[in-house]
Structures are given as C-alpha cells and as structure tokens.
C-alpha cells in the first residue's frame, strides 16, 4: 500500500465527476419494489401492506460512491437490504456484473456475499460482545476460503486491521468489542466487510452513531478504501452535506419513491425536485442568513395508505391535479441529472428505461394531457 490513494482520492474529488468515463456498473438494481405485509386483522378486503419501496433503479460503479439520501421512512435502508439480499424484492431484479441474482439456496447467497458486503449503522449492535476481534475477522476469511492455515488467517487479519488504521494491529486483534470505542468498532465492522474482498460495499449510515470529531476520520477511511480497492460504494445517509462530501452521485428518495438523482454537487447546489429543495433548505448551513424563511407543510405520509401519484404532492407547493393521478416518469435534465416531477415534463424517458412494460404504474395508466 502506498500513500497515493488518499491524495488520489482528493484529486478525483476536485475533478468534475461528470467527465469521468462511464465504467460498467458492477451491481445494478432495476425497478426494485418492496411491500411488507402488515399483521393486522381485517374482516374484508386485501390485507394491508407497507409500500416501502416503489420502482427504484440504481447502478453502482467500481471506484465510485452513490449516496442514497432521504429521511426516515424513505425506504433507503430497505433498498440497501434488498441489494444485500437480506430482503427479497417484491418485484424487480438485481444484476451482479450483468447477471441476474436470484434469491435461493444458501450456497448462492454465500457466493453473492463474497461480492457484496453491508456495513450497519450501529457498531455497538453489529459486533458480538462475546467474541474478540480475531474471531470477527477470521469467520469471513474461513467461510470464503481466503485463509487456509491458522498462520495465514492471522497474517490476513493483521493486514485488515492495518488497512482500517487500527494500529498497532497485534494489540487490537485480541480485544473485545466493549474494549473499543465507537469509531474503533466501526473500523472492525469495515475490516470484516473487507475481509471477503468484495466489489460492492453497502454502507448504511456508517457514521451517524459516531462522535462528531470521529465521523470524518471514518468517512475518509472509506473514501481511501474506495479508491484503493476500487470498491463500488452505496452510501446511505440522512445528511445531505455528508452525501456531497462522500459521494460522486446522489439519489434522493421520498416515501419509497426516487425523486431525483445525478452528480452530488449538482443535485445539492441546484436541487430541481421540490422535495430535494425542501431537504436542502432544511439542512443546517451556517452560511445561510438567520432570518431565511422556511416553509414546509405536512408530514411524511403513512406508507400503508400512501398518497396516490407522486407521494410528495400533499406537501408540494407546486402540486398540480396530475400529480395526484400518477407518478411521473423519469425526465432527463442533462449532465447525468434526472428527476421524477411533472414540473419538468412527463418523463417520456421512463418508457425507454423500463425494460418490461407494465412494470411501472406510470406505464399502465394512460397518459392524460395537462
């Protein structure tokens, strides 16, 4: 390992992300949808479901990070868990290196997790309190056949600990989670994910449980690893500022629907969708004048009985009658940006990106002129 990767990270962050050559995505999600059944007694009618995620597509590219931004209940964690195959999607498909990955036997899951790893939010809950660091890191090495002998195993564990800046590694290897700080635990969790040498890292709010001064340290570590290992990273966060810091591209979700996406700087500096605008105007910003008015109405809707059409319409200051009828297709705004909003058009491109007709609600309902 050399010092370059981090300075390389700094250089690539300065450059315009849009000019990078589009590498082939390693992991692709197409029209993912997830409904959770609700255990609730009903005399008649269909049993209710939580409409957690609707028609979400995304692509993860090696060496790049995609931030998934949204408030609680927006479905961002559900997307990550479908990508990790912890949840089976209700519909839609997940392509790993172009081949569909289907739920199934244990062996196929194991093979899948050899490539795709997940880091959880809470490092206090994701490590077992009765096992030491050595155990946590040895298991993935064994399960995925990376280490054949005990000596090989220990050597690789020491290497992993150094990779995540837990130095001196030979001291950390014998520690138990309760002997580590939050930041150190999260580093162990990252090392455990890296142990299988994955291509894709799904990081679900990896720093929001950590102390403020330590967050950047862990974020910078993930950034360096992304470059060193050419990882494709999905970075889930509620903090739009860290999305801008961390990820080249940002995808905004609201109440289970993807509303806007594109290069992070563009999306955050010039938000187009009314919800993204609301989110940006609500984020803490010391540069903003203190008397800037803030207007928000309503609350995040119930996902058991979500609003029809665009789920943001009851809160949207620009809502039109059509917004209530159906969810707009994807409108390309140029420069890699897109949005689902009737303010910017009907979203004709939706039919192009929809692989199978009838897959999105907008494709089945007839177009009504407005």
């Amino acid at each position: 390992m050399s010092v370059e990767p981090l300075s390389g990270a700094a250089a690539s962050r300065g450059g315009a992300p849009a000019t990078l050559p589009a590498a082939a995505p390693v992991l692709e999600a197409l029209h993912l949808r997830k409904y959770f059944p609700v255990r609730q007694f009903r005399l008649r009618g269909p049993s209710p479901v939580v409409h957690a995620v609707e028609d979400t597509s995304l692509a993860l590219v090696p060496g790049r990070a995609l931030a998934l931004v949204g408030e609680s209940g927006s479905g961002k964690t559900t997307v990550a868990r479908m990508l990790a195959r912890l949840y089976a999607p209700t519909s839609g498909s997940i392509l790993f290196q172009g081949t569909p990955s289907r739920g199934g036997r244990r062996a196929s899951l194991l093979a899948y997790r050899r490539h795709v790893q997940l880091i959880f939010q809470d490092p206090f809950a994701s490590l077992s309190p009765v096992h030491d660091v050595h155990y946590h890191l040895a298991r993935p090495l064994r399960l995925h056949g990376h280490a054949r002998s005990r000596r090989e195993e220990t050597a690789q564990i020491l290497g992993l600990l150094e990779k995540v800046n837990l130095i001196p590694a030979d001291q950390f290897i014998t520690k138990y989670p309760h002997q580590l700080s939050g930041g150190q635990r999260q580093r162990v969790a990252i090392a455990r994910a890296l142990a299988v040498r994955p291509e894709v890292l799904l990081a679900d709010e990896p720093v929001s449980m950590l102390d403020v001064s330590i967050r950047l340290d862990v974020l910078n570590l993930l950034l360096a690893l992304k470059d060193e290992e050419r990882l494709a990273v999905l970075f889930i966060t509620h903090d739009i500022a860290s999305a801008r810091y961390f990820a080249e591209d940002t995808l905004v979700m609201y109440a289970g629907q993807t509303v806007e996406g594109g290069p992070s700087d563009e999306v955050i500096q010039r938000p187009q969708h009314p919800y993204t605008q609301l989110l940006v105007s609500a984020a803490p910003d010391p540069a903003r004048p203190a008397d800037t008015p803030f207007q928000a109405r309503g609350e995040i809707p119930s996902l058991i009985t979500p609003p029809s059409g665009c789920r943001f319409h009851p809160r949207c200051p620009h809502a039109m009658p059509i917004c209530r009828e159906r969810f707009p297709g994807r409108t390309d705004l140029g420069g890699g940006r897109w949005t689902h909003c009737f303010l910017y058009g009907e979203g004709e491109t939706a039919t192009l990106t929809t692989a199978r007709p009838g897959h999105t609600p907008s494709a089945t309902t007839p177009l009504t002129p407005h």
Binding site: V3, N165, I167, S213, H238, P284, D285, A290, E299, I300
Partner: protein, 383 residues
C-alpha cells in the same frame, strides 16, 4: 472576566460559577464537569456544544438540579436572577430594589426547587417519547402542569390555556385529546415544548431537542423556537453535538471538552475565527452543503476517559498545536485577544505567559491539522 458586574443592557439571568460534578463509580471517579463558569443573559440563546462525554448534558442537569446519585455536585454555584417584578414562589425577590438579587439554585430546599422549576426554569429532553406519559393524552399532561403550579386557575381556564399552548407550538387544538403514540415524533417534541412553555418560564434548557428528528422537522421546530423566543422573551440553553446548528441559532456558544468549557464566543466570532484548536477541529468536522468541496480531517484520536483525564490541557494528546506547557498546566478561560474580552479561550497559545509567539491564524490551524492527519496516515503505512 466580567462576572458579577452589571451593565445596563446585559443583565445576567443565570450565572454558573465554578461548578464541578463527579460521578462516583467503583472503578474510579468520573469527573464529568470541572470548574465550569458561564453566564446566560436575558433573551439569549446560549449553545453548549461538545461530543458525548464532554459534560454538556451534565451541566444542563446540574443547573436544574436533576442529577441523581452517583452524580454529585462537588462545588460551585448556580446563581439565578429573578425578574424584579415577578413574585416567584420560592425565589426570594425584592421588589423595592432595582438591582436583581440572586438565588443559588444549588442551595435551594426541595420545596423552593419545586417552585423554581417549570415556573422559572424548564427543561426539554432529547427523547420526547420517553418524556411523555404514554397512557395519558397530551392535553391532560399540559393541564396537569397547570393544575400543580397554578392551582387558582379554573378548570375552563386551564383548558383554554392548554389549547393556546398547543396552538403556540403549531399543533391543531383538536389534538388535545391525542395520546403520544398517535402523534409523530415532531409533534411529540412540540408537545413537550408546549409543556415547557406552560408557565412562561424565564429559562428553557433544551437537551438535544431535535437530534432524534428528521431534518425537515428539525428545521420547523427550530424556526418555531426562534419565533416563540421573540414573542415570549425567554432565554434558552441549547445543548447539542451539532455545532453547525448552533452557528445558525445561538447568540453565544460554549464549546466543551472533557468537562470543561474550552471556548466561549458569539456565533459570528466562532464562524470567523475559532480560537481553540478543538473548536477549529469541530468546525472542520462538518461537511458543508455550499462552497468548495475540500478534504476535511476531523480530529485525530478520541475523547479521553473521564476517569483518567490527561494532565494539563485535556485536549493535548489530540491537539496538533500542543507544546510544552500543555501537558502540565491546565489552561483557564481568558480573553482570546487583547482588544476584546468577548471571545474567551482556554488555550496556552493565546497566553503570553506561555508563549511569545503570535496566536495561530486559521490557515496555520488548518495546516497543522493536515500535517497531523498525514502523519497519522504515514504511520499507518509504515507499520
């Protein structure tokens, strides 16, 4: 320091003087607060910022005397200056004298404390779910406060006041009979604020009031709070780890580290020139939504074990600017520059007794953090 002197414009409302709090534990005493001195002025929003374990919540609890054993206030005083016109129950006011007379909250009896709390001093906790009683509707919980503290109010008046309070915090009056589980997190937090406002207190202490909420709801509540403060003229002590929030909200900010206040400055001073290396590091830990995208370093290392606080300046093991006296002499708050005594900092870099050099500029602080960060990475590679 200008403690104890009154200038016409800035009357102190609450003075915290040399307060120390220990938590006694079997495996050593945790020094949660050491020698904290602060002044809250009338109508001010004072922000307390720090990481977990910095003592910010302990300070809030000490001011309201809500600390329970094993916590123990080992010294200091909390002076509260009641408004002269106000006939506070337990607070001995002297209507004839123009200069306000103070009461030491730490010396009050339980009865006096009961009269002081809520009427003069209210607290809003972080988690609204835990603060509200789940089996009583929110209207009843507001009315309960009014009945206890204003027994002469008629039933109908209490009801009217409860509705007025809900309206004040932006909850429709028809939610009066809603139970906490029927309200969203933001609404519950608003209800808690309504209860805190019930007796029109002088000071509201808010301990991470919006941390558990989504950003949009957080902003709504903060805007509400700013508007309410304008109308009702109360003062706020706002405790949070989110310094970027305080830079928008607070008039004055106290940065805490390992149980001490390390810097005291107005919002603008802190924005323009944080003096303490820790303050600088904290400010440099929040990515911004505007401006140039640059690499930020955070602060290397982690906060100290409060059972075993480093000698001298408790920040020195993490500080990129540390020099000889930092490891032995405890720095005390003093004016950061000769010109003004507004911004105070507890750092030897600003003390001519310890260094002849000029205080560091923002660029120097930035450069030192960068080198420290690069060195940490270098060590990583060398291993």
């Amino acid at each position: 320091m200008n403690n104890g002197t009154f200038q016409g414009a800035t009357l102190p409302l609450l003075q915290v003087k040399h307060v120390s709090v220990d938590y006694r534990a079997d495996n050593g005493t945790v020094h949660a607060l050491t020698d904290v001195t602060l002044t809250l002025e009338r109508g001010q929003i004072l922000g307390l910022a720090g990481e977990s374990g910095s003592g910010k919540s302990t300070l809030g609890y000490a001011i309201t005397r809500l600390l329970k054993p094993p916590a123990e206030i080992t010294g200091g005083e909390v002076l509260y200056f009641p408004r002269a016109s106000r006939q506070g129950g337990g607070a001995p006011t002297n209507g004839a004298m123009p200069a306000p007379q103070s009461v030491d909250v730490l010396k009050l009896s339980q009865g006096q404390l009961r009269a002081l709390r809520w009427k003069e001093l209210a607290i809003v906790f972080q988690s609204a779910m835990n603060a509200l009683n789940p089996v009583i509707n929110i209207g009843a919980q507001i009315i309960d406060v009014l009945r206890t503290h204003q027994p002469n109010l008629a039933r109908r008046q209490r009801h009217a006041r409860a509705i007025e309070l809900l309206r004040l915090v932006g909850i429709a009056p028809d939610r009066l009979h809603s139970y906490p589980h029927e309200l969203s997190g933001g609404m519950r937090q608003r209800a808690i604020i309504a209860i805190a406002l019930a007796l029109a207190p002088e000071v509201i202490i808010m301990d991470e009031p919006t941390t558990a909420l989504d950003v949009v709801v957080q902003r709504e509540i903060l805007m509400e709070l700013i508007a309410l403060r304008k109308d009702l003229a109360f003062s706020v002590i706002f405790i949070t780890h989110d310094l970027s929030l305080l830079l928008e909200l607070a008039d004055k900010v106290a940065i805490m580290y390992a149980g001490r206040v390390v810097e005291l400055a107005t919002r603008d001073e802190l924005k323009q020139h944080p003096r303490h290396p820790y303050s600088y590091g904290m400010l440099n830990s929040f990515p911004q939504i505007h401006g140039e995208r640059r690499r930020m370093t955070g602060i290397p290392g982690s906060p100290p074990d409060l059972r075993n606080i480093p000698l001298g300046c408790s920040f020195h093991p993490r500080c990129p600017m540390a020099f000889a006296p930092c490891a032995s002499v405890v720095p005390l708050l003093r004016p950061a520059t000769v010109q003004s005594d507004g911004q105070q900092v507890a750092c030897h870099l600003y003390d001519p007794r310890h260094t002849a050099a000029e205080p560091p500029t923002q660029a120097e602080l930035a450069a030192r953090y960068e080198t420290a960060y690069a060195r940490a990475l270098g060590e990583r590679i060398a291993e």
